[in-house]
């Protein structure tokens, strides 16, 4: 028995090499997602969590207030992604094409905020924006305000911190896309009489589009489901998709509704991603036309 097993391993080594990772992926990524879908389509409680299949959860979830929260998250994710794209593109452009010396140092400088703890970043902002934090201290020192301004628990704080945290996510993909552009193409464009604007719009932008797309969708998807920032800076009153999901699972303890909400919001996320993908294709097509 043991000998046979040994032989089997020897003949199918490579198959056995890939199994652990695949089992891990199936058991802890695919299975939980399937389980969430099953939960969304069923009802039951306690040890009989899945008793019968029904669509009632979705009926209950399809209310104006829930849909509004999903749209609020879509808006948050869109604004964060577009704003960080617009702000980060020139930085990536500069880094890729204009810096010759100390490139490694600049790359390091920009990848530190990308990988440091989100909680620490949120804490830093908390520290600055708090009632008796740095900004209020500065404002009252300058005599601009009499009473401390409350910056926290507002959309302003959430948008500001989201933007700050996800900015570095945008730079790396765009940087590596611009870096890959053959510099001869840019030189050729100048040689043939195009000015900077034309070269940028018809050469650099279309060729860096894969990076722009990757960065945009990375930021869009991650900030759609963001939990930490709305939970800490929204004061548990301004709900977004991430905070509402945790509300369903931790406080409401209604897993079926929570699962249905996850399915609904992921569906909306998918639809909006398709829309943005179409938009990107349109823009790329436009920029390739030379008038």
């Amino acid at each position: 028995m043991f000998e046979e097993f040994k032989k089997l391993i020897k003949s199918e080594t490579y198959f056995f090499l890939i199994t652990p990772a695949c089992i891990w992926q199936a058991a802890f990524l695919i299975l939980p997602i399937v389980f969430v879908i099953i939960l969304a389509l069923s009802f039951g409680q306690g040890s009989h969590l899945v008793q019968n299949f029904t669509l009632e959860n979705f009926q209950e979830i399809l209310q104006i207030s829930q849909i509004r929260i999903i749209f609020r998250s879509i808006k948050l994710a869109s604004i964060t992604a577009v704003a960080s794209l617009v702000i980060a593109y020139p930085v990536a452009y500069f880094l890729a094409l204009h810096i010759k010396r100390f490139k490694l140092f600049f790359l390091f400088l920009l990848s530190v905020p990308f990988l440091i703890n989100v909680l620490v970043q949120v804490y830093a902002w908390f520290f600055i924006l708090e009632r008796n934090g740095v900004i209020n201290h500065l404002l009252s020192f300058l005599g601009l305000v009499k009473k401390p301004v409350n910056f926290l628990n507002s959309y302003f704080a959430i948008y500001l911190v989201m933007f700050h945290v996800y900015l570095p996510f945008m730079i790396m993909p765009i940087y590596s896309a611009i870096e890959k552009i053959d510099f001869k193409l840019i030189e050729a464009s100048y040689d043939l009489g195009a000015n900077f604007r034309k070269t940028f719009w018809h050469i650099i932008l279309p060729l860096s589009m894969p990076g722009v797309r990757a960065g945009f969708f990375l930021v869009y998807v991650v900030s759609f489901g963001e939990y930490v920032i709305p939970a800490l800076l929204g004061g548990m009153k301004l709900f977004f998709v991430g905070t509402l999901i945790s509300e369903y699972f931790f406080i409401g303890k209604d897993w079926h509704l929570g699962a249905a909400f996850i399915c609904l919001s992921c569906g909306m996320l998918f639809l909006s991603a398709i829309f943005y993908n179409w938009l990107f294709k349109k823009i790329t097509m436009q920029s390739k036309i030379i008038r």
Partner: protein, 260 residues
């Protein structure tokens, strides 16, 4: 005009950008050396919060948990990733691409799915479930890095080694592994950082018994600000920047050696 725009305005813009990126963290670090407990008033230099930090039992325990989870997750995900990448290369399957999706699924969906599955099968939440979750997260980072490195390996070397009578293990140990070594190091460091920084999966899968550093910072923010957290954040920042420095130096050396 255009020339001036690109020579002056662009560097200026990048400079302002960097300041915006680093300003909150810098303020945080400076105030960790403030003597007073009141946040915005500067009352002189002091290391008292660091002293507090190193004498807090709770923080030490959270730190130990974080280290334990990060090292186990890094070990598991790098080992599994290595096996997967090498095996699927020899089998000529494209199964590795399947692992690229781990970063694209929103964290909270994975976390909630695991939480409900674990509680349905009555798996007690704790360090083990945390390691499981972080290993899954880590696979999404290690597999792409290791795969892209392995694709650069001249495959004739492996075939030559096998033809000359080396066993599979011997070939792997003395031909493939030395070539992959920098990528292994980079992905190990990356998974350690990612695991240390992860909050959402820890929040859902850790239960009440196991506290990590991220969870500790979260509860501290909930209860208001305290200079001890400033000190803790400063140390965490310095440690992770050291790791990131190691990663970028390693990658740069790789690029130089391959003559790019």
């Amino acid at each position: 005009m255009e020339f001036r725009l690109r020579k002056i305005a662009l560097p200026l813009y990048v400079g302002i950008f960097c300041i915006f990126l680093y300003l909150p963290i810098m303020i945080l670090m400076i105030y960790s050396f403030n003597r007073g407990g009141f946040p915005a008033q500067w009352q002189g230099l002091s290391f008292c919060w660091y002293y507090d930090l190193f004498h807090s039992v709770e923080i030490w325990r959270a730190f130990q948990n974080s280290i334990c989870v990060a090292l186990s997750a890094a070990f598991l995900s790098v080992t599994f990733g290595l096996m997967l990448v090498y095996g699927s290369k020899r089998l000529k399957t494209n199964i590795s691409y399947f692992f690229y999706s781990n970063i694209l699924v929103p964290d909270i969906v994975i976390a909630v799915g695991m939480l409900s599955l674990f509680s349905y099968f009555m798996v007690p939440l704790g360090l083990i479930t945390l390691i499981i979750g972080h290993t899954l997260l880590g696979l999404g980072f290690t597999v792409p890095i290791l795969k892209s490195r392995l694709d650069e390996l001249d495959y004739r070397l492996v075939e030559a080694s096998l033809d000359l009578g080396a066993s599979t293990f011997y070939t792997f140990r003395y031909v493939v592994l030395p070539f992959l070594y920098p990528a292994i190091l980079v992905s190990t460091l990356l998974v350690i950082i990612v695991s240390f920084d992860d909050f959402v999966i820890s929040f859902f899968c850790a239960g009440s018994s196991a506290q990590t550093l991220s969870l500790y910072v979260f509860t501290m923010i909930r209860s208001g600000i305290s200079p001890t957290v400033n000190a803790l954040s400063t140390i965490m920042l310095l440690v992770s920047s050291f790791f990131i420095l190691a990663i970028s130096l390693l990658q740069a050396r790789l690029a130089v050696r391959d003559g790019k």
